[in-house]
Point group: C2
Chain length 724, copies 2
């Protein structure tokens, strides 16, 4: 019975299954539109594919605008929109890169004038710091961290605050301009009327959905057969409405598996992040036992840990992509469109958490649960929680960001987008060669286009391309306060990415089916969500992670002469060495035995206060200032974004003028036509009924123009008429 059911489901959904069904049953091996001939054929016979290759899909033409209309003509609207979007994004990265570089250069230029780092580097002004680990670590001089302090000034200066405001507005501007470009392309590509085609497509359920509904009906009918013996027939007839679609009850197991799996996946990501933390802590402890490795412990540990993070991110990225697909299949969404949307949402959620959780950890949590000398927080009894480098967490955040961003881009571009396809091609070739037969003789002749295209990779959708760019957009906006060079790296990557993708589409993939869409769909919502989230994220990076606020507070409330002199001393608390717990004192200290107080970075009461080591008043006043900054920054930037949003009209004026013009043309045309009809109708019967008839007609005529909203296609058909 099940067999039959499946068949009927398939035959019912014939138009959606069709060739796919035959391919699935191995009757055909593949079905694809043919390419326009060869892209690298010698001679002058020009085809679109060759044109695209020469004008677009080569690295040599990276400085040129993309031939968007030709791309749309060859690949269809959906892929055309992707490249238009990518192009706009890349060109928007140019100004932000320039300003990012200027901000960075400002940091470089003012590095000599930065009083706190000068004070830290001053050998005379020796601050004896508390040991960084128990027993094996010695006290140390703050001046030994001079290098990182100077480096961190490159990224932690007032210009970054300005830059992150700029980038928040930049994101809004980009989205607004994309809306405008989409509108323009929609107008010229005649896409404004396809809403309802989409809706019609929505009404076709996916075959999997229909099968599930059939199964449900079958079970029900089995039950009702049993029930029917006792009850009335008319009852089951009323339930029909519920039966031919899946209710929440039917979907519950699927949803449950989804939620549980996603939570599990997120927990997995977090635990891997935690495992890397543990790795860092234990390795650092192990290395610092050995005298030879002690000097560059921090560099070694940080570098290896980031690389581990990167590898884990790359591996999980692939796994999560597959898992998201599997989960969406379990969910059995009704239509292709909901299927795609849910898949994207799930994949985005998992990949976002995967890519950003180590970064969020460094930005907001690292070094905040250390405790204080004398009562450190320990994990796995014996290992102290890790601290940030003396230069501040921002430096580390910057390193983490740049390595993950660059590594991800380089590796994904090189291995997944260039290497893997090449390998697959090679593998396919090998397979072909091992299978001798009549194809061999066919190859010796001039090969047909379908044979050539068959050797290419099948097209699998734009989701990975968009996903890569969206994650990059996150790197560019979410933490731009800590890494102003992110836009530059993104720009460099994207200039290559455009041509790489172009090359892939023109030379390495089978020609995809042309799909019409009006917009980039759910990606726009994700982008604008990231844009909104970036405001609060940057606010917190500046307020919590950077030293911007403590410096301001010191300068205006505590400094004697309004400068930052004495800031370093102000941020360091005192600790009475004699209160170190038994067994945690440094062994074989190179410092003299008269170290009485060591210093640590925190705002705490000194040992001689009535309540030693409690958070001091400074701590709370700086915290207040930090939080006040978050409130001011967030509301200011949100207000400015709304203003930008409101000032840039969604429809470009030239397009809206054009649409208006066409509308009035259309109205005139309709009026003329109705007039003619009226004349024709009046001629045969000029009777007394004419009056009432005429008034009804003219009402219809005047209501007709108001009911036409469709500018592009109708107007073009209108002008066709007038031309013909």
């Amino acid at each position: 019975v099940h067999e039959i059911l499946k068949r009927t489901a398939c035959s019912r959904a014939n138009n959606t299954m069709g060739i796919n069904f035959l391919i699935a049953n191995n009757i055909y091996e593949a079905a694809y539109p043919l390419h326009d001939g060869e892209y690298d054929s010698p001679g002058d016979d020009m085809n679109d594919r060759k044109l695209l290759y020469q004008e677009w899909a080569r690295y040599g033409v990276f400085y040129k605008f993309q031939p968007i209309d030709l791309i749309r003509k060859y690949f269809g609207e959906k892929i055309g929109l992707y490249f238009a979007w990518l192009g706009l994004y890349t060109s928007f990265l140019i100004p932000s890169s320039i300003i990012g570089v200027i901000v960075f250069l400002y940091g470089c230029a003012t590095i000599e004038e930065d009083i706190p780092s000068k004070e830290m580097c001053d050998q005379q002004n020796a601050f004896t710091m508390c040991p960084l680990c128990d027993k094996s670590c010695d006290y140390w001089n703050l001046s030994s961290a001079c290098g990182t302090a100077r480096a961190s000034h490159l990224f932690d200066n007032p210009a970054t605050v300005f830059f992150s405001i700029f980038m928040a507005l930049w994101a809004t501007m980009f989205l607004e301009n994309w809306k405008r470009l989409q509108m323009r392309l929609g107008y010229f590509w005649d896409l404004t009327g396809i809403e309802e085609e989409e809706e019609r497509a929505q009404e076709h359920s996916r075959p999997e959905y229909e099968t599930k509904v059939r199964e449900k009906l079958l079970k029900k009918s089995d039950q009702t057969v049993v029930q029917k013996l006792g009850t009335n027939v008319s009852e089951s007839g009323e339930e029909d409405d519920d039966e031919d679609k899946l209710t929440w009850k039917d979907r519950f197991p699927g949803y449950l598996i989804n939620i549980v799996s996603i939570l599990f996946m997120i927990a997995l990501t977090f635990s891997i992040v935690f495992a890397v933390i543990v790795y860092r802590i234990t390795t650092a402890a192990a290395l610092s036992l050995n005298k030879d490795t002690r000097s560059n412990v921090r560099v070694t540990v940080t570098a290896t840990a980031v690389i581990i993070n990167l590898v884990v991110i790359l591996i999980l990225d692939e796994i999560y992509g597959a898992v998201a697909k599997w989960l969406t299949k379990i969910e059995v969404p009704k239509t292709e469109q909901t299927f795609e949307e849910r898949l994207i949402l799930k994949a985005f959620l998992l990949k976002f958490v995967n890519a950003y959780s180590p970064i969020f950890y460094v930005a907001f949590f690292k070094g905040r649960f250390v405790g204080r000398p004398g009562s450190y927080v320990y994990v796995f009894n014996g290992y102290r929680m890790e601290e940030c480098a003396p230069g501040g967490c921002l430096m580390e955040l910057c390193i983490q960001l740049s390595i993950i961003m660059l590594g991800k881009q380089l590796i994904q571009n090189n291995i997944f987008e260039i290497g893997v396809p090449k390998l697959k091609k090679l593998f396919r070739k090998l397979k072909d060669e091992t299978e001798p037969g009549e194809t061999d003789s066919a190859h010796s002749r001039h090969p047909e286009q379908w044979d050539l295209d068959y050797s290419l990779e099948p097209y699998t959708g734009l989701t990975p391309e968009y996903m890569e760019m969206i994650i990059q957009f996150g790197f560019v906006t979410l933490f731009v306060a800590s890494f102003p060079l992110a836009p530059v790296f993104a720009l460099l990557n994207n200039v290559i990415e455009v041509r790489l993708d172009a090359k892939k589409f023109v030379t390495e993939l089978r020609r995809p089916d042309a799909v019409r869409t009006k917009d980039i769909g759910i990606w726009f919502d994700i982008l604008s969500g990231i844009g909104k989230f970036s405001v609060i994220s940057n606010a917190f990076v500046i307020a919590i992670t950077s030293d911007f606020i403590p410096r301001l507070v010191y300068q205006y409330s505590y400094s004697h002469n309004g400068t930052l002199h004495g800031f370093v001393n102000h941020t360091l608390s005192f600790f009475n060495v004699s209160q170190l717990k038994e067994g945690t004192q440094p062994e074989n200290s190179q410092f003299d035995q008269d170290v009485q107080f060591c210093r640590f970075k925190d705002y705490r009461e000194p040992p001689w206060a009535p309540n030693p080591y409690e958070y001091s008043k400074q701590y709370w006043s700086v915290l207040s200032a930090r939080l006040a900054f978050v409130i001011i920054f967030q509301n200011l930037v949100m207000f400015l974004s709304v203003l930008v949003d409101w000032m840039i009209p969604d429809i470009p004026t030239d397009i809206s003028d054009q649409i208006k013009k066409e509308k009035s043309l259309l109205v005139d045309f309709f009026l003329k036509e109705e007039h003619e009809k009226l004349k024709m109708m009046d001629e045969p019967s000029p009777s007394s009924q004419g009056g009432g008839h005429q008034s009804r007609r003219s009402r219809a005529a005047s209501s007709a123009p108001s009911s036409q909203r469709q500018p592009g296609s109708i107007a073009s058909s209108g002008s066709q008429h007038t031309n013909v």
Copy 2:
């Protein structure tokens, strides 16, 4: 020359001026559509006006739904939408009123369990407070403020926090539901196609604009005549584009006057608020000199000051309305629509500042610039800045809010909406009676409808009605954290307001011209702006004005047993009486001479600390907690609002189903028609050209349906065809 110019401008803009021009020239006195007969005629002859009066425009039917469709039929879409909006708003006030009352009752019920107010009322636990004014005021016991402390608990309890989150979501829900209702009404009233009618109306410039352009052209041509003698003619032809519209340069004086006037107006409002503050301070000082009046100084001063505020608000409201109109005229907007939008924005800005500035002062500024005992802040040397009552500023905010809100509603409803029209009517009647003539004899006969309607007030637009409701919406949302009963008062007012407006429209106004609009226009943006602003405003009211956060902080950080016992003591700082400035000590103190320390409400270091009277650590930690609360509250509520927005679809499902159905009907109809055309065309010429011809035709046929997006009107004409 100017005379001629104006005439040609008028004749050019004939269709917009027309009857208005004749009325302006006193050729006609008025022009209006006629009412449908009398609303109170005896007998059974039913007309729409009478039906509206009986079913809608009486207080007796306040519990009934409004007959929206009949209102739309009688008054047009614009007024129909207003009453639909008002109805939805009023019905949305019902749940919020209920919850508001519950929150208030919760406050009443828990008043006995509130430890801080109990502690304040405890006579044994006597806190000797510092005097409230110099010299003439004595030290006082905190227990004498017991009453206000208990009263403030009614509004300052944890339930208010919950309620203000609820109200923020309520505002989002209301706006979302209004979008849905608007969509539904737009569908049933066939409004979806009128966009372009509006756009066409936009293209007609206002006559004032055209006159200005003509004047500019005249000046220019005078100049060019002089210039022409020396230069070429073709040059001036190219400048034509700029000449037939007003550029930024032409508008500059108007904009400048606008900005300056608005800033002046806002400054005026602020200075009046300040003047009232000065009144309060001086009167309080004067009254406290006199022994008889001393006892109820606070009540007298507060009550009179609020009444002054109220009167000023009411007077300025009328003035600002007129000023906004005048300013918009100076601006010379191009079209009627921009005129209305700018007028509304200006009027809203001025009236908002006017209505809310005293409230904002009490909520966020009052009592924050008092200084401290020993170094008070003085204005006009001699008067101390005012403090909040011992119960906290929230109580005063609540009083201020309720009096202004209730007073504004009652007075505006009674005087401006009932009284003034009655007076005008009376005045008109008197004038008519003093002017004897043939009209007298006409009156004796059965009066014609136009005579009856002439005696009514002319209709002057919906702006005041909307404005009143929007300002009320602000009272309901912006400060709901301090006054949970606001929705109840708004509900009571609106139940009356609906019928009052209805009565006015049916019985007291000439019938307005029916105007088609698709939505409520800029009011929606203003509403959603207020909704967004209310989130941050409520966050600050809870965090800064109420005692919610200090209590939480005390309970979890300072309390010994996790209760609020000792909270009052904790919030009061000590002051050493001997440090009072010479001449400010209380004269004739009733307290014993052994008062050594007096207490005041602030977090400051005690006199015996190394840095006496500086802000203490508690101050900063409480401030941090307050600011952290603002951040959490704002982001949580914004996130929830986005979620609500996302969960409620903008188009109701039944409407979107209906639209889909009609679309497919329409597509079928078009396909059929195109098929018939095709047949008719193929019949005469079945030649070899047919193939190419047919394919082009069928492409046109298949593109036609996709280009029709207009559901309502087209589909109805479609079904007309099929029915006929």
